[in-house]
Amino acid sequence: MTRRTFGAPEPDGAPEPDGAREPGDLPESVVLTGQSVVPGTAEAALLYTTEPLSFWGGYDPDTGRIIDRRHPLAGRNAAGLILAIPATRGSSTTTAVLLESVRNGTAPAAIVTAGSDPVLALASVVASEMYGRPIPIIALVAADYRRLRTAGHVRVTDVGQVEFVSGSGVSGSRAARPARRR
């Protein structure tokens, strides 16, 4: 389906826009406002990447683990966390895999994307209809999306806001690099 992008995020390894921050020294007032694609609230640790993910062959609905071995988040478990992926890619069976993970209780608590991704939205809408458990989905513009890199715990609100609760999150592009190098 047509994806409406607001601009692509920087690839992994892009230079930092400013000096590296120490964990936890973010101003508490950071609130990013995007589009609430599927409304809902959640608060959890953030799992962040700049690499798109296909859930078919990339996400294990039995465990919530990311199993695409070429993906920087490979080996991480996203169940109950707030997952930041710029977009989905590849197979359109991503919707079915994500729905299966909602049924199994292994879905992310919320998903934040760079631009709106209809494939993820569909999975969440069907999860809402089938199980009364939509996954909140928020689409940020690319520049805001990149700011998530430094976030730790975040809170998503049902008006499309991502609030930083603390810094030093789980990232697929910086601290968690070894997962990619294998």
Binding site: M1, T2, R3, R4, V37, G57, P61, D68, R69, R70, R89, G90, S91, S92, T93, T94, T95, A96, V97, L99, E100, V102, R103, N104, S116, P118, V119, A121, L122, A123, V125, V126, E129, M130
Partner: protein
């Protein structure tokens, strides 16, 4: 943004046509909002990928629709299924997987879908006409419908295609709208040597190379000397068959997310560059070279080199066509496969019936080939553990097999695949690909 609904849409949403149709319309309307559609449009046909079993949730979704009285409102075909109903016991499909997969197939048949069970419905079923609005799932079928037939469909994800079919409606967005079908990426083929026209693996290799560069954009191919449509031209010019275009599109939809391509002088929305780009300039351009395509051909293989041993040659993604059966029957005539290499062909039940009537299956039997219908190696857990090394002429199989099946794979032309099945090791004719 609010979507403007017809009276009939509102009635369906209010449950006037039953709970199944209400559920489908509710999903459709919410998705129309997500993609920014102002209205829904009528579709005339659908092709359903949602029928593929992914676990209990996809079965529950299907049965919720079917038990809720949902019935398709337009002629609807079904994509590959989870099981070859007549033959799954001959392979390693677990019974506790086959049973719910079979129940899910039944649910889609109860909704009135035709049990075609193929990823290439255009090979035997009614084809959408030029400009016809349809809702198709299955990425390789979508790119064929849009590009080769000139029908109009989005690349519908699983769970959405069936919502369109049971409501007869789709969000008026994306590739349903003419202005979104404008070419974006110019692919210049003029530097490629003419001899590539004689190697049928040119098409999957080219598709693999383009898909990785196009992503979701609409590529426009130009610059390779094409045979005149009346076939009076000089020998050696390119005259792609439907199977060639099937392979090209499926490859682009694997390494990329291409849902539509244009080929100047060949595909129906591209009589010339100006028409394909709708009067605009290309957003960007790339030029294919022999060296780049040779690398793409090598990149389709994973973990197997020439002369390595093999366990299985697998053909038919997208599903093998009647013409491909004819070509294969000619290649294997009077020969026998190596005792340690199996040859598997995946196709749909309709094409198998035609191939049988045409007498092609006798030569394949004599060769020692096996046939699986209605599914494929990627969508049912059928391959026994001892099969570790595959060879295929399909870019789609080659692309997905290493990750999804954790198997080593070699890629070659149909003739290479047959030669390898006889030799018992990877044999490839590199002549067309070396400078």
């Amino acid at each position: 943004m609010r979507v403007t609904l017809s009276d009939a849409d509102r009635g369906t949403l209010a449950g006037e046509r039953g709970e199944g149709a209400r559920l489908a319309m509710s999903i459709l309307v919410r998705m129309a909002e997500v993609v920014g559609a102002e209205t829904l449009l009528d579709i005339t046909a659908a092709h359903i990928d949602s029928s593929l079993y992914q676990g209990p949730s996809t079965l529950e979704f299907a049965e919720r629709l079917a038990d809720g009285g949902a019935r398709v409102q337009v002629p609807t075909t079904l994509n590959v299924s989870g099981v070859d109903v007549g033959g799954w016991r001959e392979w390693d499909v677990p019974a506790d997987w086959a049973e719910p997969a079979r129940r899910q197939m039944d649910a889609y048949e109860r909704m009135g879908c035709a049990p075609t069970w193929t990823c290439a419905p255009y090979q035997t079923e009614r084809r959408p006409e030029f400009g016809e609005q349809v809702a198709w799932g299955e990425s390789s079928a979508v790119v064929f419908a849009n590009s080769v037939l000139g029908a109009r469909t989005e690349r519908y994800p699983d769970l959405m295609d069936i919502c369109c079919a049971v409501t007869g409606r789709a969000p008026a967005a994306g590739l349903h709208l003419r202005h979104n079908r404008r070419g974006q990426l110019l692919v210049d083929l003029s530097r490629l040597p003419a001899r590539l026209a004689r190697d049928p693996s040119f098409f999957p290799v080219l598709g693999h190379w383009i898909g990785a560069r196009a992503g979701e954009r609409i590529p426009v191919l130009d610059g390779f000397a094409l045979a005149p449509r009346d076939r009076t031209g000089p020998a050696g010019t390119l005259d792609p068959s439907e199977d060639d275009l099937k392979a090209l599109g499926a490859a682009m939809a694997s390494s990329g997310a291409v849902a539509l391509f244009h080929w100047i002088g060949l595909t129906p929305e591209a009589p010339d560059l100006d028409t394909a780009f709708q009067g605009a300039a290309p957003e960007s351009a790339i030029r294919a070279t022999l060296a780049e395509l040779a690398r793409a051909r090598d990149d389709l293989g994973s973990g197997l080199a020439d002369d390595d041993g093999l366990d299985l040659v697998v053909l038919g993604s997208p599903h093998f066509s009647l013409a491909e059966f004819a070509a294969l029957a000619r290649l294997v005539a009077g020969q026998r496969r190596h005792p340690e290499v199996r040859l598997l062909i995946t196709t749909g039940r309709a094409v198998r019936a035609l191939a049988e009537r045409a007498g092609y299956l006798d030569a394949l039997d004599a060769f020692g080939a096996e046939l699986t219908v209605d599914t494929c190696i990627l969508t049912t857990p059928m391959l026994p553990a001892e099969i570790r090394r595959l060879m295929t002429n399909s870019a789609k199989y080659a692309y997905y097999a290493p990750g999804l099946l954790e198997r080593a794979v070699a890629f070659g032309s149909l003739a290479d695949c047959v030669a390898s099945a006889i030799a018992g090791r990877v044999v490839r004719d590199d002549q067309a690909w070396t400078a």
